[in-house]
């Protein structure tokens, strides 16, 4: 505990100092921050993809898809992956050192470690005239379209509401629209956790025969989900017909608890994320794992870099684009159920995308 809070305090301090420094540096005129459209030759571009770390299946897919996109453009040697390992100051430090080297021909596709880090990354990108696309996290009230800079090209996310809603509906249908469920939430202040839970509640309104007995957070953690589900099963003996989980890792933990209680297959489970293990279980109707969602890792890696690259080479001027191209959700895709689990796409494959049209996966604008 001690070490963790101390590390967090030091990290926060470091970020604050960096913010302060970048704030002061406004007085120094920045080299190329003023130009509105890029003038880089593709071979001079550095493509950078950053996320938490490769101990996580999702980021492995993002990295693979981003790399595949770089190869398809003949830029495999210009690609690099940065792991934040959950450390904001480390992520910002690495980004700064890359910008110092590559300047205005750097394309960044960044899943920021936390929302509050985004303004600092935007500032760094503007200062060196680089091109930034952000994923998932950003603080409320900031967006590429509200700034006066073209360098924060776009912000891309996935709407958790339909994910939570569609998986909940699949769960309720598998229970015949009658019975009681429990819910496992993600870390409560994460936007995906909030959105997915809102989707569950929307589905509950449409199914009057279904009661939500209780929801608890298992913080995206598999073991915690197993412990909480075990406790739910003793608390509501014989009552639970389904477990709705906000992620596959939690759903897999819940399924383990259900199996150990000798009720495997009878109590239904759903998750979100499209982990390989979950997709395999969905294929087998007797497992009780009813549904998960398709992973959008490939679209996030490939299109994030594609949009940034197009801005850097001057194919389009971000400042001229409509708001719906600057902050958007990816198009929703059908969830994975027993019917279609057999042909679920590989989460890292980019062959099915039309990458010549960089806006082809754009869905609703983020408000």
């Amino acid at each position: 505990m001690n070490s963790r809070t101390r590390a967090a305090a030091i990290a926060a301090g470091a970020v604050a100092v960096m913010l302060g420094m970048s704030g002061c540096s406004g007085a120094i005129s920045s080299g190329s921050g003023g130009t509105s459209s890029g003038e880089c030759a593709p071979e001079d571009v550095t493509l950078v993809q950053s996320g938490r770390g490769l101990e996580n299946e999702y980021y492995v897919s993002v990295d693979a898809a981003a790399k595949a996109f770089a190869e398809s453009e003949g830029l495999a040697d210009n690609y690099q992956w940065i792991a934040s390992d959950g450390d904001s100051s480390k992520q910002l430090g690495q980004i700064k050192s890359i910008l110092a080297k590559g300047g205005e021909c750097v394309v960044l596709n960044i899943d920021a470690n936390e929302s509050s880090l985004v303004p600092a990354i935007v500032k760094e990108a503007e200062k060196s005239g680089a091109w930034l696309v952000t994923q998932w996290n950003r603080p409320d009230g900031t967006s590429p379209e509200s700034g006066d800079s073209a360098h924060w090209v776009a912000h891309m996310s996935i709407d958790g509401v339909p994910e939570g809603y569609e998986t909940a509906k699949a769960l309720f249908e598998s229970m015949g629209g009658e019975g009681s469920v429990v819910a496992l939430q993600g870390i409560l202040d994460n936007p995906p956790a909030k959105e997915r839970f809102a989707g569950l509640q929307k589905a509950l309104e449409e199914y009057p025969g279904i009661t939500l007995l209780e929801d608890q957070t298992a913080e995206w953690d598999r073991t915690k989900a197993q412990d909480i589900t075990q406790t739910f099963l003793t608390k509501y003996p014989g009552e639970i017909g389904g477990v709705w989980a906000a992620s596959d890792s939690m759903a897999l933990g819940a399924l383990e608890a259900i199996k150990n209680a000798g009720q495997g297959g009878q109590i239904k489970v759903t998750g979100v994320d499209g982990l390989a293990e979950a997709v395999d279980l969905v294929k087998d109707p007797s497992s009780g794992y009813v549904a998960t969602t398709q992973s959008r890792a490939a679209a996030q890696g490939a299109f994030g870099l594609a949009i940034g690259l197009a801005a850097a080479t001057g194919e389009f001027d971000p400042a001229e684009e409509p708001a719906g191209h600057r902050s958007f959700y990816l198009k929703p895709v059908p969830i994975i159920t027993a019917e279609n689990a057999g042909d679920a796409p590989d989460p890292a494959a980019i062959d099915d995308f039309d990458l010549s049209d960089i806006w082809s996966e754009v869905g609703d604008p983020i408000k």
Binding site: L54, R222, D227, Q230, T231, T234, E256
Partner: protein, 310 residues
């Protein structure tokens, strides 16, 4: 043992709030959920008794979890060592403990910083072995052995009981156990009495590494995949448990049984909050508050006038 009183108090309160708490099924669930942190706490106790600290748990468990999954029959390679996977995995944990022990005892680096280092080393090994997708254990026999019932209790509960008994025997019947109290009480006196302090201190980290390794084998068998994040939250449970149990962080007081009761208190708090229907939004804060209250109650009698608290 005041921690027992805390445990009793929780049981009495819960008997009124939700009688399910004392049902056989729930007690079994608590036993199974306590098994992993109890095994960790048995080894950690010896480090803390000597006045050291071991923060490397999450890293050691990451490395051992992946090792275990890859040595058993799995969907990644052709290895199928069955029961032999367990001792090898425990040896990996002990080896990481040895690295920490040598650095503390021979290089004279404080254990706090050394074990942050071995934590990162362990995480690194876990990451190397992870390779993009969690390796799935396909050796159902091995998993059934630890998860299945044996005389009414899951196998992992028996193993945690065995770990506690061995820990108690080591604490009471061996030189290592008895000297741990002397070293923690006053390293100077131990040195002047001719006890090879650094050797025993080194050994304490090996023991803690080995038990963290054993805990990782149990936890991995329980979820069925090798997982780098498997020990993420356990440090809070075990260190808080050890302290509530009445083992002083300054060393010299406490013991295996104290720690075990303390860990059970922490697990029971989490279980009781779900059974009591406490909202997720306040649980974390409640858990922290209960820990402070429980620690104050448990340590009330040890408030000697001249005892220094840092």
């Amino acid at each position: 043992m005041p921690a027992l009183l805390v445990l009793l108090a929780i049981c009495v309160v819960m008997a009124f709030v939700n009688p399910v708490f004392l049902s056989g099924g729930n007690l079994l669930a608590i036993a199974e959920q306590s098994a992993v942190p109890i095994v960790v706490a048995v080894g950690l106790t010896f480090v803390i008794l000597m006045g050291g600290i071991d923060l490397s748990l999450a890293g050691v468990m990451a490395a051992v979890s992946l090792t275990t999954a890859l040595l058993l029959r799995n969907d990644r390679n052709d290895l199928d060592l069955g029961l032999w996977a367990a001792p090898i995995a425990v040896a990996v944990g002990a080896a990481l403990g040895l690295v920490a022990g040598v650095s503390v005892a021979r290089l004279r680096v404080p254990s706090f910083i050394v074990t942050i280092g071995t934590w990162q080393i362990g995480l690194g090994i876990g990451l190397l072995l992870f390779g993009g997708k969690p390796p799935r254990i396909e050796d159902d026999g091995f998993r059934a052995l630890l998860g299945g019932s044996l005389a009414g209790l899951p196998g992992m509960v028996w193993i945690s009981l065995a770990a506690v008994i061995v820990g108690l025997l080591v604490q009471m019947r061996t030189r290592f156990g008895r000297y741990a109290y002397v070293i923690g009480g006053s390293e100077e006196i131990a040195r002047l009495s001719g006890i090879p302090v650094s050797r025993y201190r080194m050994l304490s980290f090996v023991v803690a590494g080995a038990t963290a390794g054993l805990a990782a084998v149990l936890a991995t068998a329980r979820i069925g995949v090798g997982d780098v994040g498997i020990g993420g939250d356990l440090l809070f449970t075990t260190i808080a448990g050890v302290v509530i149990g009445g083992t002083f962080l300054t060393g010299g007081r406490g013991g295996v049984l104290h720690s075990v009761v303390g860990v059970i208190v922490i697990v029971v708090i989490a279980n009781a909050m779900v059974l009591g229907g406490v909202s997720s939004y306040v649980q974390q804060a409640v858990q922290g508050a209960v820990v402070i209250v429980a620690a104050s109650i448990a340590l009330w009698r040890s408030r000697e006038r001249l005892r220094v608290i840092k």
